[in-house]
């Protein structure tokens, strides 16, 4: 095997591309395509969130808020103000970036559980505002969203979305891998390792944390907007605390500080409830039990545990 293919970067990207290209062979009908698209969209959120939690070591229990703002911002601009979808998506994402930047500076000075609480509070506030501003958002009943139009063509159908989301997922992975291997990405990992040591070699910790916080919010908002256009309908549930938890769980399940882990985590935990749906009433019980058992027996998460098993000695 050529050396380049063995690096997480090239080899992993190629493997992911192959999976995306070949998966349709196994997708029997539109329902499966639908699940695959949702996996891709969640994976994009998780890749961003993993930069924050896995690499920089800063927890957020409020990212569903950013996801929800991206979704509702895009939907409202398109449905209520008649903006073109792409412009709405861009504006909503930029708006979320601005918000994350504004709140990030004060909040990211907090540590550990205090940061967890602050981000959680932020998420709760966003979710309540979305629920209550029913003039704009349709309130708890949700709102319908026009389809995404690309160059005059409406993007509809699970199959078309599959390829778009697949391409965007690859792009997201590529961006994240690039960042992690840049000086800025090293600075983030350094903060996680020892904040004091990072600062005394010249890293402005607050600035770096705000940067990655904004970046992860942008990933979430962008995927949120896409999800709104794809589903054609959104409800405030997408912005609430439980969804934030779901996102963090995906990241941790897949493996902290592993970009491909984030993808795997999103895939498993998006698919699992669909599989469990046959269990109907037992769904929550099984889901909760799976979460607990994986964390007890694979605390490092899925991908790092597997890599450690099959490539002992090699890291990452």
């Amino acid at each position: 095997m050529p050396a380049a293919l063995r690096t997480a970067r090239t080899g992993g990207m190629l493997a992911l591309a192959v999976v995306i290209a070949l998966l349709p062979l196994a997708l029997a009908n539109n329902y499966f395509y639908d699940v695959a698209v949702l996996v891709g969209l969640n994976a994009i959120v998780c890749i961003g969130l993993n930069l924050l939690i896995g690499y920089a070591g800063q927890i957020s229990l409020g990212h569903a808020g950013f996801f929800g703002l991206g979704a509702y911002g895009s939907a409202i601009l398109t449905a209520r103000y008649g903006w073109p979808p792409l412009a709405s998506l861009a504006a909503a994402t930029a708006g979320v970036a601005l918000l994350a930047w504004l709140v990030g500076r004060p909040i990211l000075r907090l540590r550990g559980h205090y940061l967890a609480m602050a981000t959680l509070g932020l998420g709760v506030i966003i979710a309540i505002v979305i629920s209550n501003e029913d003039q704009l958002t349709g309130g708890p009943d949700g709102m319908s969203v026009p389809p995404l139009a690309l160059f005059g063509h409406a993007l509809t159908g699970e199959k078309a979305w599959y390829w778009v989301v697949g391409a965007l997922l690859l792009l997201a992975v590529w961006l994240a891998l690039n960042l992690v291997e840049s000086p800025g990405g090293r600075a983030l990992r350094a903060l996680h390792g020892s904040e004091t040591a990072a600062e005394v070699v010249g890293i402005d910790s607050v600035r770096q944390k705000v940067m990655v916080f904004v970046l992860s919010a942008v990933f979430a908002a962008f995927a949120g907007g896409l999800t709104a256009y794809y589903s054609g309908f959104i409800t405030p549930g997408r912005a609430n605390f439980l969804h934030s938890i779901e996102l963090v769980t995906m990241v941790v399940f897949g493996g902290l500080a592993s970009t491909f882990g984030a993808v795997v985590g999103a895939a498993v935990l998006t698919t699992l409830p669909q599989l469990l749906a046959v269990l109907k009433d037992y769904e929550m019980v099984v889901f909760g039990a799976v979460m607990m058992l994986t964390m007890i027996f694979m605390p490092k998460g899925f991908v790092p545990t597997l890599t450690a098993r099959f490539a002992p000695g090699e890291r990452k």
Binding site: L175, N178, L179, E181, S182, P183, G184, G185, R186, A187, R189, A190, H192, G193, S194, T196, A197, A198, E199, V200, V201, G202, I203, D204, S205, M211, L215, A257, R315
Partner: protein
């Protein structure tokens, strides 16, 4: 001309005066040592001189620029580097990456360039890697470049911290007990390393317990006791100072007896 100047510097922790009204200047050349019994306030002083702690009172100038109250990264940017008594290694990275982080100040690149991996960045990364390797070699850790830092022995980690600090190209390097916990051979290597630093034109501040080591390499010694300056001067004059003998060397001698 002095490189670093401190005026009436104090640090208090809820009633404990760890550093009290210190006044001194560190000249732009040579090895400046800070000694004193355990708990004398040496580490606290280094934390103050790197912005890790904010002084309760007093002022700090580096190169005639006042840095009092600024965050650690401002001190680093001004040219102050350090190591830690309690190791602060980035254990989630390889040895080489630890040193590469040290190059951060000279490697700044925009977010967009990083995300899109501009070719210029790839080139800079190669240069950064090469320089980090050289530094590992300089401190005698060439063999550990690819090692995961959490698998390295203690003595190697001490030198890894020095390499990381050097990567930032500091003008003033503060070493907090670099030989603590090392065997005589390793200590000898550290001494040689300190001498080579001086040859590189880096001013070194050495906090150390090992008196032989201090007296051998220091151009200037500052003695602390209970956060206060007890004596200051050349190694020779400090060694003869009765106050120092009583407070520090005396107790040391007792401890060895």
């Amino acid at each position: 001309m002095s490189l670093l100047r401190v005026e009436a510097l104090s640090k208090e922790f809820g009633g404990v005066h760890a550093v009290q009204a210190l006044q001194f200047e560190i000249p732009a050349q040579g090895v400046y040592s800070i000694i004193g019994p355990n708990g004398a306030g040496k580490t606290t002083l280094l934390n103050l001189l790197t912005g890790v702690y904010r002084p309760s009172a007093g002022r700090i100038w580096f190169d005639d620029k006042e840095l009092t109250g600024r965050a650690p990264h401002h001190y680093a940017a001004a040219g102050v580097g350090r190591t830690f008594q309690n190791l602060q290694i980035f254990f989630n990275m390889s040895a080489l990456e630890n040193v590469m982080v040290g190059r951060y100040l000279h490697e700044r690149c925009g977010l967009v360039a990083a995300l899109l991996r501009f070719p210029s960045l790839a080139r800079a990364e190669r240069a950064c890697r090469a320089e980090a390797l050289q530094l590992l070699e300089f401190v005698g850790l060439a063999g550990y470049a690819r090692a995961a830092s959490d698998s390295m022995p203690y003595g190697a980690l001490k030198r890894l911290e020095i390499a990381r600090a050097l990567a930032a190209r500091p003008r003033l390097l503060l070493l907090d007990e670099p030989a603590a916990g090392l065997n005589p051979t390793e200590t000898q290597e550290i001494v040689r390393l300190i001498e080579r630093l001086a040859a590189r034109g880096i001013t070194t501040v050495l906090v150390e317990h090992n008196m032989k080591l201090v007296m051998g390499v220091s151009d200037h010694v500052l003695v602390l006791d209970y956060g206060r300056k007890l004596a200051e001067g050349s190694a020779e004059s400090v060694r003869r100072d009765p106050k120092v003998i009583e407070a520090y060397l005396g107790s040391e001698a007792q401890a060895h007896a």
